[in-house]
Amino acid sequence: MSTAIKAAASIREGRAAVKKNAEHFKADNHFWVGIEQGRGDVHPISWELMGADRKLAGKLKVDVAAVALRLEREAMRNAARASSYGADMVYADLVYNVQQEHRKEFYTKALIDAVNSHRPTILPSRTTFGCDLTGSVTATLLAGSTSLPCTIYKMNRTANGHRTPARDGNARARHARSWHCYHLFRGSAQSRPRRQNAIVYTWPRIR
């Protein structure tokens, strides 16, 4: 097989894998970690979250997807690093020249669309942006949130299959009965990068 044909076949396989993976993520409450970024780089808290989620997801036998919204071109490469920190899938939305971080409406809508179509459990970071977004998204979706700065957190599956998160934060509160909840997390364990091929799925353009 010539190199060109091989390359074309591998691209086709890659696309098929991405599609399959995207379908798989629609199936159940997988974990989504928001990849926060600014000025072309990823906020380190995102990798902390990824580490903790990876462990938790392993226990609950679900997968972890990284969600990177409002990707500037140069941040794309950084977001792809999510897979080396443990994401099984990276959802990326390329939006050029969107500088206005404060345009929360845009992100709120994007996340709401995502939740409605994929029903994930989302874990944004406890940064100024993460807090704002979570407040808006939960108020729109009527979702619960466990939202102290967390350091440890656990999740149990209830008899009816809903997840009930519990986590220990600064004030050490335990929560139950949250439904599609959002967790803000100040992670304590950063995952080690592991070598893995990035699977990047470009989120459908948000109007």
């Binding site: 407040g135 509160a173 335990r174």
Partner: protein, 280 residues
């Protein structure tokens, strides 16, 4: 102009103790205060009133005893205090809280004039979620300026406001339309000493008390524990997190001794670092 300031009565965290046996937080006998973050919001509103005139309504949702915090807010100079109190509001999580507060703000708008600005603190010292401000804004469909450090300009004719917002990346200067919701950052101003006249007025003032019905709450099932997808199951004192401490003997080359000690206790770290740097 009419500004609404949301305040929450919280236990004074400086005086909270932990039960030595059960390890739970002892709230009995702990004095309550206005959430300290909310005082920055109140002062910001007072400063705007000094410049532009108008009225300030303070609003809280809480038990009947929260009246005390409202009176305190009146001593600082607020014009009116509204207490949202009803058994059905008890046990609210952030979602139920934002529902009740947003409904009350709508009613305040009807009764006392539509607010131009709604202020909240950045977060509280007990719940600490920082979700209530953005949640109210979303429910009222007003714009939100969060983590505001300074209000730079307000143009009532053009109905615009310009503010400095502090975030991890630096300071942003934002301009938006009125009405909007502002969550005020800490240490951005200092709450004034109330005037004697205000203290006297506060002592005699009639606090407006609204039950769910008075506040025009349409759906009680969205309030309090019933309307809360999240419940706090237990609050307890943190356990010590110190894991393992190893004392490294003083050495001539302290850095190397430290690195050797690290590798000794975390053998995988050496291999990982080697893999990352490409060293054999």
């Amino acid at each position: 102009m009419h500004n609404v300031v949301c305040i929450k009565q919280v236990p004074d965290s400086a005086q909270i103790r932990v039960h030595p046996v059960t390890n739970t937080i002892m709230r009995q006998g702990v004095p309550t205060i206005i959430n300290p973050y909310d005082l920055f919001a109140l002062e910001a509103a007072l400063e705007l009133r000094d410049k532009f005139g108008g009225e300030i309504t303070v609003l809280t949702m809480g038990p009947p005893s929260a009246e005390e915090s409202l009176r305190k807010a009146l001593t600082f100079g607020a014009d009116r205090a509204v207490l949202l109190t009803d058994r059905c509001f008890a046990g609210a999580d952030t979602l139920a809280t934002t529902y009740a507060l947003a409904t009350a703000i709508r009613k305040i708008g009807k009764e006392y004039g539509q607010p131009d600005l709604i202020f909240t603190g950045k977060q509280t010292i007990d719940g600490d979620t920082a979700q209530v401000g953005p949640g109210i804004a979303k429910r009222l469909r007003v714009l939100q300026l969060t983590y505001v450090a300074k209000i730079r300009a307000l143009d009532l004719a053009a109905r615009t406001i310009e503010a400095e917002r502090r975030s991890e990346g630096g300071v942003q200067v934002l301009r938006t339309r009125l009405p909007c919701l502002i969550t005020m950052l800490e240490a951005t101003n200092q709450i004034r000493r109330g005037a004697m006249a205000d203290a006297l007025r506060a002592a005699r003032a009639q606090i407006v008390k609204w039950s769910a019905q008075h506040a025009d709450v349409e759906d009680i099932s969205k309030c309090g524990l019933k309307g809360s997808p999240t419940v706090v199951k237990r609050v307890f004192a943190p356990t010590a997190r110190a894991e393992k401490a190893v004392l490294v003997e003083p050495a001539e080359q302290p850095a190397e001794a430290l690195i050797d000690a690290m590798f000794k206790y975390q053998p995988r770290l050496e291999a990982d670092l080697a893999a990352l740097t490409g060293d054999p």
